[in-house]
């Protein structure tokens, strides 16, 4: 594989679960040394994409190459070059940290002295060398995540794949994890691809691929994506949102959206717009908020829907209610 080839090259990848289309012609690339995030709500296909790239499933159509190898034709070659950190812990709780890493090493053909040294060095790097001999079931969520990252890096893969790295962690542990990941990129030259539905986490990426319902809706750096929205986003709470929205459209033009009982307007002159708005519709507005566009606004701009479906919040794992459980 030549030096400039992308580490990940996805070309019109498709997949379905029975009749439901999970991936609908997804294409994108990841260059060496990048940190790329796959951002999307639940059901957007990012989990399916993750499973396809980590060779857990065989996609129905299209192609994906990781480290230059096709995920369907040469899965073992792909597996050699990737390290995977799953959303659910993939450690054996009844084994110690060291035992878990030893088993992992054996799976990659590592053994004996060199393996032991590597384990010691990795556990040291994640700051867990004193707990190497403790059972994993005694570890906190953040510690488990650290062992998982150590485990994924054991065989020095070129690409690290993470599924919702911040999920289930408190903000401190999440920060810790991200410091570790950035360090990995700086000191070890790893390429990182992760999935997320959290805006803060997405901001840590060099580039984002935004997914919705199995399709790529936008690609770019977080700032590029935000500037696509332009200016500011004005959020208006009003008793009769629909009417207000059409009145705003009539009076000021543009494409106001109504979501969850609030009106959203994108305006280049966001802040200056507020007094005009309030003067134009006296008494009808309950509150106005203006802000620079967030990634959620970016998502809304492209899809017309919210990134959060109202069941999730920043600090907890998404709650899947039965109707919303469409499989990941």
């Amino acid at each position: 594989m030549d030096e400039n080839a992308p580490i990940v090259a996805v070309d019109r990848l498709t997949h379905r679960y029975r009749e439901r289309i999970a991936l609908d012609g997804v294409s994108f690339e990841v260059a060496a040394g990048e940190i790329v995030g796959l951002l999307g709500p639940n059901g957007s296909g990012k989990s399916t994409l993750f499973k396809a790239l980590s060779t857990l499933i065989t996609p129905a159509g299209g192609a994906a190459r990781v480290c230059g190898h096709d995920v369907v034709q040469a899965p073992d070659l792909v597996r050699r070059c990737i390290g995977v950190v799953f959303q659910n812990p993939s450690l054996d709780k009844k084994l110690t940290a060291r035992e878990n890493l030893t088993h992992q090493g054996h799976m990659y053909g590592l053994r004996g002295g060199p393996l032991r040294e590597r384990i010691a060095s990795l556990l040291g790097w994640v700051g867990l060398q004193e707990r190497a001999g403790s059972l994993v079931e005694t570890f906190s969520g953040g510690m488990v995540r650290r062992v998982e990252v150590a485990k994924a890096m054991l065989h020095e893969p070129q690409l690290l794949l993470l599924d919702e790295p911040g999920a289930g962690l408190d903000p401190g542990a999440r920060r810790e994890t991200w410091n570790m990941l950035c360090d990995l990129r700086e000191s070890r030259g790893a390429t990182i691809l992760f999935t997320t539905h959290l805006m803060d986490e997405a901001d840590s990426a060099d580039r984002l691929v935004i997914l919705d319902q199995g399709r790529v809706v936008a690609v770019g750096t977080p700032s590029q994506l935000r500037s696509q929205v332009g200016g500011g986003v004005v959020r208006i709470e009003a008793a009769y949102a629909q009417e207000l929205a059409s009145d705003v459209r009539q009076r000021f033009g543009g494409e106001p959206r109504v979501l969850d009982g609030a009106v959203y307007v994108e305006r280049p002159d966001g802040f200056a717009f507020v007094p005009q708005l309030v003067e134009a519709f006296p008494g009808r507005i309950a509150s106005v908020a203006v802000g620079k566009p967030t990634l959620e606004d970016v998502f809304m701009h492209h899809t017309g829907r919210r990134l959060y479906d109202g069941f999730e919040d920043e600090d907890s794992v998404a709650f899947h209610s039965p109707q919303r459980r469409r499989g990941r």
Binding site: L56, P59, D76, C81, N88, Q104, M107, Y108, K151
Partner: protein, 295 residues
Amino acid sequence: MQAAHVTDAKATASPLMLAAVSLAKRELVRFLRQRSRIIGALATPPIFWLFIGSGLNRSFQPAESGLGSPGSGLGEIARTGPNPQSAIRNPKSGYLAYFFPGSLVLVVLFTAIFSTISIIEDRNAGFLQGILVAPVSRTAIVLGKVLGGTVLATGQGLLFLALAPLAGIKLSVAGTLGAIVLIGLIAFALTSMGVVLAWRMDSSAGFHSIMNLLLMPMWVLSGAVFPTEGASAWLAWIVRVNPLSYGVAGVRHLLANSGTAFAGMTLATVVTLAFAGVMFLLAVAIVRLPRGNLT
């Protein structure tokens, strides 16, 4: 930093035995670290055997069979042939002795079930995820699981065998060794079968149903609980078709030196070997199937 480059020319999966042995070791370590599991696993078949065996002990009179000379355990049922008048009540034989080989096989069955039920939880949210994305051949994954289950079952079988004298069974060295080997083979077969059943399942509730509808009847109808002589014809037929029956027959022959009407030692061994082989190959085939449609 140099990444671990692998050229396209050579084989890319990790050494088979290294992975398989590592996985098997993990099964053993896990088992030994879960005390409640150990007690549950070890205690149930002996208790079963002791209570049911003692309860039915003297009521047990296999129909149309000679029980053989006193002190020989169960006697040569096959050789003496139907002879209603010689239904001797021998206090040294009886159900406790008859039920022993079947209970030994039950120990193996329980271990096989425990080994494979963990596959279901492990695969979606646990250890197995990490294994499946590693360059490990699928054969090694199956082999590791099956070897682990086999060693566990054989170990527990050995412990159960220590109770044999309680049933009046005299163990010869050759008989015991042979029984251990045969138990190992049966364990290999049943654990492989467990993999075949569990691999495509998404919930352990489904596996519990399979356990009740398939595995337990399989054991009940293997000559473990009742002999074919005296059973209704259709039941006797099922016993003969059940591969597990041949394993039980072999164990019975090795331990108590008593035969069954439908299988001698040679046939028992051959069928059990075939059972183990076929199940293992099926397990590897199932694990190798590309997964696409399951979420």
